[in-house]
Amino acid sequence: MIKIAVASGKGGTGKTTLSTNLASYLAETKPVVLTDLDVEEPNSGLFINGELTHHENKYKMVPQWKSDSCMLCGNCREVCNFHAIVQLVDQIMVFPQLCHSCYACSELCPSGSLPMTPEKMGELQEYQSGNLHFIESKLDVGQEQAVPLIAQTLRYVDEKYSEVNLKIYDSPPGTSCPVIEATKNADLVILITEPTPFGLHDLKLAVETMRELNKRFVVVINRYGIGNDDVVDYCMSENITVAAKIPNSREIAGLYSQGRLLYNDVPEFKAELDKIVDFISDLDREVGL
């Protein structure tokens, strides 16, 4: 069993391109689960032509104030670490967008005036295309927290696909809570970047994050050929494996813009994808031992 998260510091460096191509390519020979955890703007689905097999709404639990039984003791406001509860003269106000569903206010309310109630936060959809199982979650417009939906999606995939050996997770960009949640159970994190000053700057942040989490990670350089050698030099000086260098190519950009996968049409891309596949096979053997 191996879990691979594809992440990046900078956005737009190729997380989805790599995730969808890697998952589809590997699925030509064995079952693979691809999960899009970039719930604020999932886009792996643009490249996967599967059949919709399942759809469900996802909820988070938030307290709802019952004015008739409340004694206005203020306990709820004091125990909330997230300032999601405000007490005014004769009322309690709950801010669901700030709530982390910890249940403290609800459990510690002496009069049971803050029962936890479900609030819809997003939707999960599941598609199948041959050996490839594709799961995508999307946060509702207006929802501010991605982490609860990412956590529920991970749980769904773990429970439903415990038998599938290979799982790939398309992660959100950046280095904040959603990325931590999306990568925390991965055996390997692939950090994809571009060889530009901006790419390098954010790669360093991502590397720092992964080291803090004690994650095993490798770098893939996308659009190799633009910018400069600083990313390569940085990886060398930090002893970071560069697993592949995907060439900058107009043909790739063209196929991408049509929502098409690349490995069948671009041999140079396929050659780099094979390097990543080899790396994963070695890791699988190692983890399997």
Partner: protein, 112 residues
Amino acid sequence: MKIVFTSEGTEWDSKIDPRFGRTDYFFIYDDETKGICTVDNRAIAETAHGAGPQTAQKLFELKPDVLITGNGPGGNAARVLAQGNVKIYVGAGDMTVKEAYDAYQKGELKEF
């Protein structure tokens, strides 16, 4: 009438703090007694999320009639403030407290 300004300091000449939730101080002027007092809100810098409602709750406890600020409260803070009868005026972000008070009296500030 009690008028509260979001401010960066505790003097009439202090700049208005354009932020509501993360304002450094409240500068409070009572135009009947001519009395001034200030509330230090700088501890809010430690709060990662939910500064708006926190500060709004603090303001609420001051029972003001008028709030004068810069950018105006965000959605969460506005929800709290809507529970009271506070008139909110915005657009004083580049002024001192004194200038903002004069502008308010001349009716030059925009109601939120």
